[in-house]
C-alpha cells in the first residue's frame, strides 16, 4: 500500500493506538528554551519526576536574552534574569544538553537544532515553541507544544497525539527572480488564510521546493504554524543528506550508511493520497509584504492595500478594518513607497547564513536611509561567526545596520526591546500581530532581501526594482 512520507514517519513512532485516531507517539528529541522550558523543567522537579534519556534533550537560551554585545544574564524583560538562571540550574540538574550564554553554539532553538544535527530526517522532535515545525525542512516530523506537554515528553519520551490529516502543497515551476522561500509561504497563507491548515500535517512538494536549499526549506516550514497547520515538512533528498553529514549530533560514521538507507525510504509513494491538495504556480509569486495584523493579511509588494469593503466575509472584513486602523493604512494606497521607521533581519524564520548573505548582497556599497533604525541579529553564535569570517558583518555595519549577538530579539517584545510606539517596521520575522514587536509597533513581514532593499530606500520597496 502506498504511504505518504508523513504516515511513514508517524507509523515508525507509533507505540500504541489509543482509539479514535489518537496515538501514543515516541519522541526522539525534545528541545527547550528559557521562556517556556523553564516552567516545564520546574514542573517536573515539583512532581519528583526525572527526565528520561536526558542525553536526547536539549536546551538553549534565546527568547528573552539580551542581544547587545557584552551581554550577561541581565535582560530588559522584567523578571527575565530569573527565567535564564532558573533554566540554567534546572537544565544542569536534569543533565540535558545546554547551549548557554557564552557558549559559541548558543542561538535560536530552530537555528541551532539543524546546525548541530539534532534535528534529522525522520525524527520526531518537539519543543514548547510554536515555530518547531521549522525542522520539517530537514524531513523531521516536528511540532510545537505547550509546557505541560513538554513535561510529558521529557518524563515519558512520548506524547499523546491525535493523528493529523494530511495535505500536500505543491509549488509548481521555478521561482522568479527576487522571490524567496519566505514569499512562497506568505503567498500560501495569504491565499488560504491563517486557519487554512488547522488539523493538517503538510508535505511541501514540487519542483520549486526541490530546488530550494535546505536553509530555505527551513524558512518554508517555519511558518506552517501561521497557516494554522500542526506541522509541515519537505521529504529528505540528496541536499538534506549532504547538509546533515558531519554535524555534531548527526549519525556517526559507523551508523551513517544505515541512517542514509532509512532516510532514502522517506518519500511519498506513488499513488499515496492526501486528505487535501493545494497547488501554487510559482510564476504567480512576486515578493510579498504583509499590510495587516495577521500573516494572512499580505499581498504582493506591487499591489495596493486592500479595501475591506470588497471582503464578503463579515468576520474577515471586521478584522481587516481593525488591522488597517492599527497599521494606520488607507485602502487603495500603494504598498511600495510606504515610509518605514525601522528594519529588522533575524528570527527563526530568516537569520541563517544564507539569509544574511542574500541581504548583504543588497546592502553592499549602499547605506540605510536616514532616520531608519536597522538591526541584524544572526540566528546563532555560529552563524554570526561564519558571517564575520566572510566579512558580512562589515557590510551590514557599513550600511548602517546594528550587528548583534544571537537570540530571538525583536521578533517579539520578549527581550524587552522594541522599535517604539507606532513605529513602522519591515521585518524578516513571522508574526505581524498587534503589539508583537512592542506596544503599538506596526510590523510588515517580508523576506530578508525585501527588508534590506526597504531599509536602503526608507520605504517598502520591491527588491526587483532596486537600481
Amino acid at each position: 500500500m502506498p504511504y505518504t512520507v508523513i504516515e511513514k514517519i508517524w507509523d515508525e513512532h507509533q507505540i500504541a493506538d489509543l482509539g479514535d485516531g489518537t496515538c501514543l507517539i515516541y519522541i526522539d528529541r525534545v528541545f527547550l528554551h528559557e521562556r517556556t522550558g523553564s516552567v516545564a523543567l520546574k514542573g517536573l522537579e515539583a512532581t519528583g519526576r526525572a527526565v528520561r534519556n536526558p542525553e536526547q534533550a536539549f536546551c538553549t537560551m534565546d527568547h528573552i536574552v539580551d542581544t547587545f554585545p557584552g551581554r550577561t544574564d541581565e535582560t530588559r524583560m522584567p523578571g527575565g534574569t530569573a527565567f535564564i538562571q532558573t533554566t540554567r540550574e534546572a537544565a544542569l540538574k536534569a543533565g540535558i544538553n545546554l547551549f548557554d550564554l557564552g557558549d559559541p553554539r548558543q542561538g535560536i532553538a530552530h537555528v541551532i537544532s539543524p546546525e548541530q544535527g539534532i534535528a534529522l530526517p525522520g525524527v520526531t522532535l518537539v519543543c514548547p515553541d510554536s515555530h518547531t515545525g521549522t525542522l520539517g525542512g530537514l524531513g523531521a516530523l516536528a511540532w510545537g507544544i505547550g509546557s505541560t506537554e513538554a513535561e510529558h515528553a521529557l518524563a515519558t519520551k512520548t506524547l499523546v497525539v491525535k493523528k493529523p490529516r494530511t495535505m500536500r502543497v505543491t509549488f509548481e515551476g521555478s521561482l522568479p527572480q527576487g522571490v524567496t522561500a519566505k514569499d512562497m509561504i506568505l503567498k500560501l497563507i495569504g491565499e488560504h488564510t491563517a486557519s487554512g491548515g488547522i488539523g493538517y500535517a503538510i508535505e511541501f512538494a514540487g519542483q520549486a521546493v526541490r530546488d530550494l536549499e535546505v536553509e530555505a526549506r527551513l524558512t518554508l516550514c517555519n511558518m506552517t504554524i501561521e497557516f494554522g497547520a500542526w506541522s509541515g515538512l519537505v521529504a529528505p533528498d540528496d541536499k538534506t543528506i549532504e547538509y546533515v553529514k558531519g554535524r555534531p549530533f548527526a549519525p556517526s560514521e559507523d551508523q551513517w550508511d544505515a541512517a542514509v538507507k532509512y532516510w532514502r525510504t522517506l518519500v511519498t509513494d506513488e499513488g499515496a493520497t492526501f486528505d487535501k491538495e493545494i497547488t501554487i504556480d510559482c510564476a504567480d509569486i512576486v515578493p510579498q509584504i504583509s499590510w495587516g495584523t495577521s500573516p494572512m493579511h499580505e499581498t504582493g509588494i506591487d499591489q495596493r492595500v486592500p479595501d475591506p469593503a470588497s471582503e464578503p466575509n463579515e468576520a474577515r472584513r471586521a478584522a481587516m478594518e481593525k488591522a488597517l486602523e492599527y497599521m494606520d493604512l488607507e485602502p487603495g494606497a500603494r504598498l511600495e513607497g510606504i515610509p518605514i521607521d525601522a528594519a529588522f533581519i533575524g528570527s527563526c524564520t530568516n537569520s541563517r547564513i544564507s539569509d544574511l548573505r542574500a541581504a548583504a548582497a543588497i546592502l553592499k556599497g549602499r547605506k540605510v536611509a536616514s532616520g531608519v533604525k536597522a538591526i541584524c541579529v544572526p540566528g546563532s553564535g555560529l552563524v554570526k561567526a561564519a558571517a564575520e569570517a566572510e566579512g558580512i558583518d562589515k557590510i551590514f555595519t557599513d550600511a548602517g545596520f546594528e550587528w548583534r549577538e544571537s537570540g530571538c530579539s525583536m521578533c517579539f517584545y520578549a527581550g524587552g526591546e522594541s522599535f517604539g510606539l507606532e513605529e513602522r517596521v519591515v521585518s524578516s520575522t513571522n508574526r505581524n500581530f498587534e503589539n508583537r514587536q512592542g506596544p503599538r509597533t506596526r510590523t510588515h513581514l517580508a523576506s530578508p532581501t525585501t527588508v534590506a532593499a526597504s531599509a536602503i530606500k526608507g520605504h517598502l520597496t520591491d527588491v526587483r526594482n532596486l537600481d
Binding site: 527565567f83 509546557s147 515519558t156 500581530f433
Partner: protein, 206 residues
C-alpha cells in the same frame, strides 16, 4: 487539575477572528517562572488603556458587567493561534474562564486547554454567532450550559448543539487526570518499543 462536567455560566462574546496568544497574554506580562499570577496581564493590551498600564478600558467586554463574571468565552475562528505559550491558558483559567466556544482553535492552544481544565468547544460560526446574539440580549440572565458528559452546548432558548472532542481529551477533563500518570501505565510498552527501536535506528540513541 480541576474536573469539568457541567457548567452553566455567563458567556462573554469576543467575536474577532485570529485572536492570538500574544493578545491573550502579552510577552511583557509573563513576569515570573510560574503558572500563577498571570490573570492580571490577561488581554492587557485590550483590557487596559495604556501599554503596561492598569487603567481599565471600559469598552473591553471583560471589563463590563456582568461579563466580569463570565466563565465562558465565545470567540471568532482560530482562537489561540500563534505562540505556544501555555501562559495564555494559565491566565484565562486563573481569571475564571472554564470553557471557550469558537469555530476553530490554534492547535497548540487546544492541547494546552485540555491539560489545564479548560474545555475547548468547536461549533460552527453561525451557531457561535447565534449564541452571542442571545447572550447579548440579556447577558446576566441568558446563561449558556455546557455538558461534557453529553457533549452538548445548550443555548438560552433551550436549543442544544452537539460538539465533538477526542475521547482521551474528554476523559482527561471529566476526571481531572494527570496525563503523565495515565501514560506511565503503559511504561512497559514504551520501554519495549524503545528497546526494539534502539536496534532499528541506533543513530537516534546518542
Amino acid at each position: 487539575m480541576e474536573k469539568f462536567t457541567v457548567l452553566e455560566a455567563i458567556a462573554a462574546p469576543l467575536l474577532r477572528i485570529n485572536i492570538d496568544t500574544d493578545v491573550i497574554i502579552p510577552s511583557r506580562e509573563m513576569k515570573r517562572v510560574s503558572k500563577e499570577g498571570l490573570s492580571d496581564g490577561m488581554f492587557a493590551n485590550w483590557r487596559y488603556k495604556e501599554p503596561g498600564g492598569r487603567e481599565e478600558n471600559p469598552e473591553f467586554v471583560l471589563n463590563q458587567e456582568p461579563y466580569r463574571r463570565a466563565q465562558i468565552l465565545l470567540s471568532g475562528d482560530n482562537f489561540g493561534c500563534g505562540s505556544s505559550r501555555e501562559h495564555a491558558v494559565w491566565a484565562l483559567a486563573e481569571w475564571g474562564i472554564r470553557a471557550i466556544v469558537t469555530p476553530g482553535f490554534g492547535n497548540i492552544f487546544y492541547g494546552n486547554c485540555v491539560r489545564n481544565g479548560i474545555l475547548p468547544v468547536v461549533l460552527d460560526n453561525e451557531i457561535v454567532e447565534h449564541l452571542a446574539r442571545q447572550v447579548e440580549a440579556d447577558p446576566a440572565g441568558n446563561k449558556i450550559k455546557i455538558d461534557l458528559t453529553k457533549c452538548t452546548v445548550t443555548a438560552p432558548d433551550g436549543q442544544s448543539y452537539a460538539f465533538e472532542i477526542a475521547p482521551a481529551d474528554r476523559e482527561m477533563l471529566l476526571e481531572g487526570l494527570d496525563a503523565i500518570a495515565v501514560t506511565m501505565r503503559r511504561d512497559d510498552e514504551i520501554l519495549a518499543f524503545q528497546a526494539r527501536d534502539r536496534l532499528k535506528r541506533p543513530w537516534i540513541y546518542i
